[in-house]
């Protein structure tokens, strides 16, 4: 059964005349995790805002838990949880204050709201900081609290808009653990991200979007296969390039390509680590000492390169500069 379904959504922001969504369709099966993957300005946040009833589309339709988001937004709000790009909690209030207040706004009785707040603080390892104002929290703690606030009443569908953007690696790891925990509990989750590894780690299915359109969809494995999986990259002295190209081509079984400026030879490989060993061994036998050698997993850039012919960063640059560009970690 489909928990979320969007059909041909179109949204044009009048300001700057940006076509944020251009006939986007997607759906999420009940109890599964869908990741919407794309660069800044691809339309990720717009999709989430429409599904969470914060925005109405110019055309198209969408249902969440079987409820029409345009006709019955108030009913949709009863069954969803939303955690956005910003930690939307009150910085001055404590974690405890925030959760109790949101509990009250979900119409829990005072004692039930307190009980629920304490449960959630415990579950998200925030009990110790419960009585401190949010402004003293780390980025990761804020996001966890924000997530907790969206889980006060067990939502049927949870929307997480870039839950780890802007977090340091540790905060990110912690957030992933929390989300994995939720996923195990069987929540239906729609998650947006600009990181392929995040989608890979957390999602059952991935849709890749660009310029407000879906450009690819499938499981993480299927997408990777399409993109070509890992690449082996070797940098050598000018005089050794030709010989190295031959070697790499032989090992990988695919034609190696050369970036002349960087003197970098690269080729897609299937069995990454064994290919790496084999190439190193052959190079050694030939007496070639690589200046650099690495096995690269496909990045979002590679996904975009291969799907659209332009890089993710270019897509950001092409966008009207509405959002500040965030670096990828």
């Amino acid at each position: 059964m489909k928990s979320v379904s969007a059909e041909q959504l179109v949204k044009i922001y009048k300001k700057g005349n940006v076509k944020a969504l251009d006939g986007l369709s997607l759906d999420v099966e009940e109890g599964t995790v869908l990741s919407v993957l794309g660069p800044n300005g691809a339309g990720k946040t717009t999709v989430v805002r429409i599904l969470a009833t914060l925005l109405s589309p110019d055309s198209g339709s969408a249902t969440v838990a079987g409820i029409d988001v345009i006709k019955h937004p108030e009913k949709v709000r009863e069954v969803i949880g939303l955690s956005g790009q910003y930690a939307a909690v009150d910085e001055i209030l404590t974690g405890w204050d925030n959760l109790v207040m949101f509990g009250r706004l979900y119409h829990l009785s005072k004692s039930a709201a307190i009980k629920r707040a304490e449960e959630l603080l415990e579950r998200f390892s925030l009990t110790e900081s419960a009585r401190r104002p949010i402004k003293t929290y780390s980025g990761g703690m804020r996001r966890r609290l924000d997530l907790a606030a969206s889980l006060i009443v067990q939502p049927k569908v949870l929307f997480l808009d870039e839950p780890t953007t802007g977090l340091d690696p540790r905060g990110r790891q912690e957030m992933w653990e929390v989300i994995e925990e939720l996923v195990k509990g069987g929540v239906t989750l729609l998650l947006t991200t600009q990181y392929l590894d995040e989608a890979d780690q957390l999602a059952d299915d991935i849709v890749v979007i660009d310029h407000g359109r879906v450009i690819a969809r499938g499981t993480s494995d299927a997408l990777k296969k399409e993109i070509g999986g890992e690449r082996l990259e070797v940098v050598v002295e000018q005089s050794q390039i030709a010989r190295t190209m031959e070697l790499v081509t032989r090992v990988s079984g695919a034609k190696a390509t050369l970036d002349e400026g960087l003197r970098q030879i690269s080729s897609p490989v299937t069995q990454g680590s064994s290919a790496l060993i084999e190439v190193l061994r052959s190079l050694d036998e030939e007496g070639i000492h690589p200046l650099d050698i690495a096995l690269k997993r496909p990045s979002l850039d590679d996904v975009f390169m291969s799907l659209t012919g332009h890089g993710a960063e270019e897509a950001v640059a092409a966008e009207s500069g509405k959002k500040s560009k965030r670096g990828r970690s």
Binding site: K15, R49, A88, V89, L105, P133
Partner: protein
Amino acid sequence: MKNAISDAMVITRRQLLLLFRVPEVLIFSTIQPVMFVLLFRYVFGGSITSGQPGGYVQFLMPGIFVQTVAFTLAGTASGLAEDMTKGLIDRYRSLPIARSALVFGKTLGDSALNIVVLFAMGLAGFIVGWRPDSGIMKITFAFLFLLAFGYSLSWIGIFVGLSAKDARVVQNISFLTTFPLTFLSNAFAPTTGMPRPLQYFAEWNPVSTVVAACRELFGLTNQFGATAGSFPSQHPLMMSLIYMVAIMAIFIPLSVRKYTSAGKS
């Protein structure tokens, strides 16, 4: 409906909680008007002849009360603009609560702050010689009247806050409009000293009518200081009520609609 009210109350409680968590806000919101009381009382008090028994302070206090509640507009507006930029409003809007709950809760919370501030000012006024002598009923009514004026203005604040992008800009703009409006009135000096066109403006200025109404309620003879005998100077209480009702009739629906569609364009 029952939920809408209890939701609004939760938001009001949040506003009050903010005051307890950041007592600086309360302290500075109180210090500023108290400082105005002292400055005007002792700096200008000697030179402005109000013709009032008991001196300038009797004339001044209603003016400063009104000026202070008028600043509610800026406070409400910048607070809301800040919530907007932090994404808090989106969270509220994704909750299954009445659309009016947040804005009603905010305005009520800001009125609660006004109660505290007015109390502190009244006390400061009393210390420097303010003695309203109209009896407890009328004095209480005067304070309720001031609160009502502040409440109606906070609805303009809600609308401004929802319309703007940056909290500091909102703060500055609201202050820059409210401040002259409170001076282009009879709040601190009789309007008779102003050039003719300004006098007309001051007579119709809601600040003047509320000030004049309060002066009456605090037991002064109608000290409008107007020469023209215009309708607002003759009937300040009624005119003030008309203003308040008009402000709310316009800005409550506008604000609720703006809130419902916030970020939709």
